[in-house]
Symmetry: C2
Subunit: 479 residues, 2 copies
Amino acid sequence: MSEQKRPKKSENFSEWYTQVLIDSKFIDYSPVSGAIVFRASSYFAWDMIRSATDVLFKKAGIQDFYFPLFIPEHLLEKEKEHVEGFSPEVAWVTHAGNTKLEERLAIRPTSETIMYEIVSKWIRSWRDLPLRMNQWNNVVRWEFRHPTPFLRSREFLWNEGHTIFATREEAAAERDEVLGIYNKILKEYLALPGITGRKTDSEKFAGAEASYSIEHVMPDGWMIQGPDFHSDGQKFSKAFEISFLDKEGKKAYAYQNTFAISTRELGVMVAIHGDDRGLIIPPKLAVIQAVIIPIYNDSNKEAVLAYAKEAKDSLGESIRSYIDDNDAYSPGWKFSEWELRGVPVRIEIGEKELKSKSATVTRRDTLEKKQLGIDELGKGVAALLSEIHENMYLKAKKFLDSHVHDADTYEMLKDIIKNSKGAARAPWCGDSECESRIKEETGAKITNMPFDAQGKEKGKKCVYCGKDAKYTANFARSY
Amino acid sequence: MSEQKRPKKSENFSEWYTQVLIDSKFIDYSPVSGAIVFRASSYFAWDMIRSATDVLFKKAGIQDFYFPLFIPEHLLEKEKEHVEGFSPEVAWVTHAGNTKLEERLAIRPTSETIMYEIVSKWIRSWRDLPLRMNQWNNVVRWEFRHPTPFLRSREFLWNEGHTIFATREEAAAERDEVLGIYNKILKEYLALPGITGRKTDSEKFAGAEASYSIEHVMPDGWMIQGPDFHSDGQKFSKAFEISFLDKEGKKAYAYQNTFAISTRELGVMVAIHGDDRGLIIPPKLAVIQAVIIPIYNDSNKEAVLAYAKEAKDSLGESIRSYIDDNDAYSPGWKFSEWELRGVPVRIEIGEKELKSKSATVTRRDTLEKKQLGIDELGKGVAALLSEIHENMYLKAKKFLDSHVHDADTYEMLKDIIKNSKGAARAPWCGDSECESRIKEETGAKITNMPFDAQGKEKGKKCVYCGKDAKYTANFARSY
């Protein structure tokens, strides 16, 4: 519970991470290994991410649907690469009540197969396209590696976008639109930067022609994949017969994309922003944005509590605030508890504040204090919440930038990986042989080939084989 | 597809119901029997119900959580009545990938057991209460009766509220608050009235002390249970050891409630409001509230389409509108199609409208037409949408009221049930023997004992046994 018992983030990141999630009441474990409980604060944060993303999807013309949780076994097997990617970790329903089912049902690990089987019947003509679908749901991937809350969960929540176009060009144009939406949500809601780029062929999604990702660097220097986007070309449309009559009246197969952001981002958010005192929740995602802590004794209790209520009123409806007037705990205990929970702003109200018609306001990110007049509390705290968000983003950006190192030689790459300094940005020939050798020898894979770094490899040699480089790739150990 | 091929609602309600759901593209079937696809229009309606209800929950102090999809078998068995009620229809996960699980996992049919096992550890003192939790999720009940979209689905979406209080009084006070929220949502969003009352002991929820429900009368005169609320007393708190130290420092067991509204309501909405032309969607739940249909020929196409765009602009952002400029279909075909889909308002734009700077506006509920000036279109259509909602509710209320008949004799009750006239409201002694005999002999069960009818039984005799009546109960055939 207390700060003392938790390891420091800088000393034992993974222990700090799981302990802070539990201590802060952000999540709890469940009797099902790998499935966690989202408590009020984590579910609120996810719900804000979901609704903000959904608004942008709708503006872009992407609509929400809901397809079944279950996928009959024969459907899951329809696209070969896809089933190979997922079947080892599928949870199977075999019985209903006491009755054995005729065919096993997979709990969706992702919904391509169940969706496309059905949707193929909806599409007859080019006029039925584009069909841009999304769903917000729960999926199950029974990984046998050690589960980690949010980062590797057996059940998680996500969006799965599934869009269908008449032409390759239209499908391709969606990539930057969707990755733009994800980057906007990461920056404006989670205060997180990321590195956007293309995955290599060996790291792409099971069934995709090309995959794209936004990658984060975690505090331990390892990278983790965030939101992603997949160009599926005609792989699924041919397997599921998603065809249509084009403008010339000829049969054609559709082009498809898929994309996702998941509750994994909550883990990245906690990992990157938190400190030894606990969570630091970005203001827009905090279920309580400002906690008011009244400090009183027997003689002024009534007056201070009334003044705390006045402060809450002054904050107004648009700031989510809460008065912690629990008599069982001391103000000092409460300070620690709300810091642990990551509430962006603490407001102390005592005799001094009451007399001067002010409030003592402390921001969680820097722990800086200042006095605000009671009448300016709403405006002042709103401005402070914006400042906190901005500061959190800039700090995270600085961390990210300082953990991407150019490596023009294999020695440099090995040093970066060995000492967990983040990503080694290196010229690469494009050969999967070099990619896999580097992985074997260093433990680092290519997380992606950042869009904004392409071209830097010009005139350079592949860090492994010495042939002409074709790409600039980020190599890192990865979750 | 066409109106001609569908049976009339008044002649074959159940055929009309399933066919109109498919024809209108509101839903589709899936390869998993009993699991349907929510297409854009039905998911949108559910999402509006979800978010409007969630706002009211949050105002009341109920917060959202998310608990795992899976329940280990030993947990499901912890409360005896509960497991007896649900285990016959549980979907069981037995394998993950190729590995047999050590213990079978139930897909949640409802989450009491997984939640209470975990939550019991969160509660130590009376200060930790009340704990008012909710979750929006999917549940699975593998009923072996014939599935019907929304009304009896094997997977459905719902809210499940789970609240925990220190005293029986506090728990009891929540009942009217939650039923009030559900009735408000039904009236203001779905344009549906209902009959609120208590269930009998033989009809209550598996594990509850008392259950309450809002019941609807369907077009075929059968009733269907809508949202419900259960007072669980200390049944679960004792089974799951949800105890705390009270203000005197003594160990006490908590009092609990649960409550739900589900996607079944979408089925009730379709059934009650629809007509032989198709769906009629209440305006607040319609993904398209106003469809603009331009009517043009080769000579005025450009001008009419530009004018249609002008009409859309005049409607403004707050009305969800769509211009159907698909050249492949005639205006007449489009009129039928959008009527089938239940869009509340149709706006025709042609040469005549262009010249007079007006629009021809047709409301879906009554098919009445009127002319509106282009500049007053936003205001005029907004007012019309309110009128449509109001009219839909009043019509549904009139239908409900005319399908509840007082039956002071058993002959009257039998006639009402036999001729599918709706509910027979009759005096009842409170004896479950009479209740079950009536069910055996007529097929009608007690749907609930309406709050607003209690007292009417005074001085009357039980319709079955002739003893003094204690309650006024609604008897009906029920889904």
